[in-house]
């Protein structure tokens, strides 16, 4: 199969859906001729023009507000927020408007929109450009939350998200953008709410999201060399969450490490741990371990950033603690 980078896969999904459905359009800062801060929208502006690949002022509140208003009146906007850190500037539009309108109106509206935003550190961009804030949105009924870890998932999940009639938060990882992988051509839909077992194993389950899936696979490789068989489960969508696949894996292995790049405290790993501790406690042969960012903002200097953010070795170490 032909290979695409993760960024190209996202762009392909956007292109296909925009060709297919005239109500789909993009808006955001520098998404037009500039092609997006991380180059994701690329040449879409050339194909679809400035009406449908719409450069906005630096006004996140207005971007998401406009998306909500457009979605409520028949369009399918796909706003891009340049860094997920800037979602702080439009939380009201996301949480009190987009997420709740349908419900508050007694089911008499739909808000089909997909907010794309990159998460993550690793490029010395410091505390205001390196966060992973997905957990906040999983706490908000009415929003769906998607976090692809591979180019193929990025394409398939984005198409599914755009076709979904709800507001979807779609988090891409900056460090994944250049990563290549096989991606099916044409229409390729990965349904929301289906986890993917990225590697099968029998001794311990690692539930990982986004970039940490890659790191978990690396860790699994290392551990395999030491005779430890690791199963890597990628939930892919946090809301809706495929509890079944996660629980089945944990019941099989009896041990679990949960890994995400977000700050460990109150990250989505806590939710997964809590679900396991309620629904599969009897199957556990060891404490539930979490691997995430240490309790600090993301620092600038590489040596500090590396210390704060979780990596392959942290996953290896966590697995070793419980086997």
């Amino acid at each position: 199969m032909r290979e695409l980078t993760y960024a190209e896969a996202v762009r392909e999904a956007l292109r296909l859906e925009m060709r297919r459905d005239p109500s789909v359009f993009i808006l955001g800062e520098d998404v037009g001729k500039f092609g997006g801060c991380f180059g994701v929208t690329g040449d879409l502006w050339q194909e679809f023009g400035e009406d449908r690949v719409r450069d906005t002022p630096i006004s996140e509140t207005a971007i998401i507000g406009a998306a909500v208003g457009a979605a409520a009146t028949g369009m399918r906007p796909v706003p891009e927020i340049m860094f997920c850190d800037f979602l702080t500037v439009c939380m009201d539009q996301l949480v009190n408007q987009a997420a709740k309108m349908r419900y508050m109106f007694g089911g008499k509206a739909k808000i089909p929109m997909v907010v794309r935003a990159p998460v993550g550190g690793g490029i010395s961009a410091a505390a205001q450009h390196s966060q992973s804030l997905e957990a906040w949105f999983t706490h908000v009924p009415g929003l769906k939350v998607v976090m692809p870890s591979t180019p193929a998932d990025a394409k398939g999940l984005l198409i599914a998200s755009i076709r979904d009639d709800n507001p979807v938060m779609f988090f891409e990882h900056k460090l994944l953008y250049p990563v290549k992988g096989e991606v099916p051509e044409g229409e390729y839909v990965v349904p929301l709410g289906k986890a993917d077992v990225k590697r099968e194993g029998s001794d311990v389950t690692v539930v990982a999201t986004s970039l940490m899936v890659m790191k978990a696979l690396e860790a699994a490789e290392k551990l395999a060399a030491e005779g430890v068989s690791v199963e890597v489960v990628d939930p892919r969508t946090l809301v809706p969450l495929d509890e079944e696949t996660i629980l089945a894996s944990v019941k099989k292995t009896g041990r679990v490490v949960i890994a995400h790049e977000a700050v460990t405290r109150s990250g989505f790993g806590a939710e997964i741990a809590a679900i396991i501790a309620e629904k599969a406690l009897d199957y556990l042969d060891a404490p539930i371990k979490r691997v995430g960012a240490k309790p600090a903002p993301v620092p600038f200097a590489g040596v500090l950033e590396k210390y704060v953010l979780p990596g392959t070795d942290d996953i290896v170490a966590a697995v070793k603690e419980i086997i």
Binding site: G65, N96, Y103, G106
Partner: protein, 317 residues
């Protein structure tokens, strides 16, 4: 203007007044829960504005939204049932006063967040533009809301993209207890239009004809693709900020002065003078509306409560 339209406008104002007077009573009796913000005294603004709109045009409303909803064609029965928290209400009891909406009538919802509509309205305008229709969107908001983030970003966006949005500031001089003179250093919110290179118009919000005309002009501009207008309607709320507010922040005298400028009395006088309505016509309208309100209350009272489990429906489409 045609006679029918004038009479329609008068009736709408009376409907808002009577509906809310009843809501106020019901609230005092404990029959309506939650927060209720009444529009009494400001009727001319909603009615003068919405008299320019088609059913497929949009409005965004505020926490003080009953007037906007009725004027845009909302159903009084469904509104009252919603205030009672009944299954038959506009939102099946999930929204209450602050979230009444009727998307089919172009009513994109009351909003509990001050300035909430100011970010949404440009989106509805953008949608019309992208879909190639000539629908317009009227965005109602308060003087207090004109200091919110959404005002600035919303007007800027609408102005650069020439979106068909009419921003109507209902300047009733207070944001809860804070007088306008303490929340902004300008006398006319309309002056802020300069910041976006769009027209800004001040109008007497208690004069339904004046509001009608200012909005007519703005709607014409919007439908012609000439972009947004900011209209400021000077008006006053007779009741407290919410029902139960002791209004320590203003004088009885001030309230009385504004009551003397009642938008309904004023329009009634005008219609009587013009010979468009007779005293008998007026009484008939009042009586019909009173009956409509009673019917709405009966409908609300007789409607069933939602079933508890239904609380988990409608979260996702």
């Amino acid at each position: 203007m045609e006679k029918e339209k004038l009479i329609w406008m008068y009736r709408q104002m009376v409907r808002i007044r009577q509906f809310e007077t009843k809501v106020s009573e019901l609230f005092a009796q404990g029959r309506i829960p939650g927060f209720v913000h009444l529009y009494i005294g400001e009727e001319a603004t909603a009615v003068g504005a919405c008299a320019n709109l088609r059913q497929d045009d949009f409005i965004t409303s505020t926490h003080r939204g009953h007037g906007h909803c009725l004027a845009k064609g909302g159903d009084m029965k469904l509104m009252m049932a919603e205030l009672f928290g009944k299954e038959t209400g506009y939102c099946k009891g999930k929204g209450g006063s602050m979230h009444i909406a009727d998307v089919d009538m172009g009513i994109l919802g009351a909003n509990g967040i001050v300035g909430g509509g100011l970010s949404i309205a440009p989106g509805a305008g953008l949608s019309a533009k992208l879909r190639g229709t000539d629908q317009v969107t009227v965005c109602f908001f308060g003087d207090g809301a004109s200091n919110q983030t959404t005002f600035h970003e919303g007007l800027n966006l609408a102005s650069i993209w020439k979106l068909p949005v009419i921003f109507i500031c209902e300047n009733n001089q207070y944001g809860i207890s804070l007088h306008q003179s303490k929340h902004q250093r300008i006398a006319d919110v309309a002056d802020r239009a300069v910041a976006y290179g769009i027209p800004g118009v001040v109008v007497d919000g208690n004069d339904v004809m004046a509001v009608y005309e200012a909005v007519a002009e703005a709607v014409k501009r919007a439908r012609a693709g000439e972009g947004p207008t900011l209209i400021e309607a000077k008006t006053y709320r007779w009741r407290g900020h919410f029902e139960g507010d002791p209004t320590v922040y203003r004088s009885e005298k001030e309230v009385q002065e504004w009551k003397e400028r009642c938008p309904i009395a004023r329009f009634k006088k005008h219609l009587l003078e013009m010979g468009i309505l007779s005293e008998a016509d007026i009484e008939k309208i009042d009586a019909e509306v009173a009956e409509e309100v009673e019917a709405a209350v009966r409908f609300a009272e007789e409607s069933p409560l939602p079933k508890p489990e239904e609380a988990l429906e409608d979260v996702y489409a």
